[in-house]
Amino acid sequence: MALPLFSGALVSILAQGFFQPVPVLVFKIDVGMVAFIAGLIITLFLLSFYAGGLLVERRSQHMLERSLKEAESGRRRFLRRLDHEIKNPLTGLRAALVNVQEARGTDERQRASNNASRAVDRLSRLLADLRKLSDLEERSLENLPVNVPELLQDMVDAARSIPAYGDREVNLLISRVPSPFPTVRGDRDLLGVAMYNLVENALKFTSENESVEVRALEDGRTIVVEVADSGVGIPAEDLSNIFEELYRGSNARGVDGSGLGLALVRRIVALHGGEIDVRSRQEEPRGTVFTVRLPVSKL
């Protein structure tokens, strides 16, 4: 079937040596034409380049706009929440001040001023945590080996030293073999804040007959700290938001706290090159586990 093709090819090769090519169709192109065509090709080339660039630019512009919009809506959400967090203690403070002025006896005055102090404490706590969050962006981190088991023990002790949690058990489990447990490089004080917040949260959202457990494991590259509790659990719709600043899940409304604790934890963990996750169940076996992964420090 391919015989004509082969024979044609053979003839063309053989004929090349013997005959001058026979002009069948002739294009006459002068220098002007060459210049015109070259210009056309270059123009087309540039145009396609330009169009591609425009497309890329449009896309990145779009992405920038979107992230700006997200940042803007995040900022608005934050301000709205902040407004709410300030409104309540401030209302309490105003009412307490009126009661101080109009109190008819020492008892009433005492109660009113106690309420005023409580409102002030709440505002102070909020402000202190806001400062920490903004400080984190600017302060220089220590970069020293941190002994995680020791740190966890300290933070568990510290949380249990709060009178409300004095009689609560916190199970601390740390893998002992092989030893010693590897260190994390970073800022001990900040990591302490992160761990403490998690432990205190676990205690805050559990009652006396529920348990809290802190576990530390390592696989040579990563140190995994889990803070687990058998408390009421976090509703699924809140799970993706709880690390947001001032976000309050439906369980956390009316519970003491600045609403910035988990945001601080996430930021501190991120500054140490780590990650934090949460999983939670509200049906039996219910409970919540926060998992922090931190890179093991290299020797």
Binding site: D135, R139, A158, V193
Partner: protein
């Protein structure tokens, strides 16, 4: 001397603050002068020679920092407490550069200010440059170079974390004073830590190890049970 009523100059542009602080300090036995900016503070210092100045940092016309700089430049060593709103270390280093005797972060409890005022007055040697304004501090074999951020014991350089060094610095500029853990947290860390006391104790342990100081029979740093820490030897300041 302690019988005589001491005069405090309170410089802050926020009226609600001074209107409440002034009567509070007066009840505590002080005579209180109030001004609302740095320029007025300079004038009052010249005309009334207060025993102590409480200076807010953010003020119109002349801020607290500039005011203090001018005072020290003119060789006026009136003890001064700076009210800073930022707790960052750089801010505190600045406060030192200007020769503040102590600093307090807003918002503070008025009782805390009173405690600071009393402590600074107790330490003050009228007309003399205070330890807080000295760059080189010496206590026996221990030398702290605040500019170079270095400490040495018997000529050997000490390996200290920046935090431990800052704790040592605070203790050495406040010798023979019982410094509470909360105070150290406020002044050195600038944050309130939930597990704060432990945070301080960890650094103190580091410091004592470096100084080879036995907590049971300390030479440099004494633990005052339930209260805090005290730097024992007397400190000499230079530069």
């Amino acid at each position: 001397m302690s019988r005589q009523r001491m005069t405090l100059l309170l410089a802050d542009d926020d009226h609600t603050i001074v209107d409440s602080l002034a009567p509070f300090l007066e009840r505590a036995g002080f005579k209180v002068l109030v001004v609302s900016n740095g320029a007025a503070a300079l004038e009052k210092v010249q005309s009334h020679h207060p025993d102590l100045i409480v200076l807010d940092v953010l003020m119109p016309r002349m801020d607290g920092r500039e005011t203090l700089r001018r005072l020290r430049h003119a060789n006026v060593w009136t003890p001064t407490i700076l009210l800073t709103q930022v707790g960052e270390a750089s801010e505190r280093a600045l406060a030192l550069e200007e020769g503040a005797d102590d600093y307090l972060n807003k918002p503070f409890d008025p009782h805390e200010l009173l405690a600071r005022v009393r402590a600074v007055l107790r330490r003050a040697r009228p007309g003399e440059r205070s330890l807080s304004a000295a760059w080189l501090l010496t206590a026996d074999d221990l030398v702290l170079d605040r500019r170079a951020r270095r400490a040495s014991l018997k000529g050997n350089s000490l390996e200290l974390t920046p935090k431990a060094l800052a704790v040592l610095e605070y203790l050495m500029t406040h010798p023979d004073e019982v410094v509470s853990r909360e105070r150290l947290l406020n002044a050195v860390w600038g944050w309130e830590y939930p597990a704060g006391t432990r945070t301080v104790d960890t650094r103190m342990a580091e410091l004592r190890r470096a100084l080879d100081d036995d907590p049971a029979s300390p030479y440099y740093i004494e633990t005052i049970s339930g209260e805090g820490y005290r730097f024992i030897p007397s400190v000499h300041g230079e530069g």
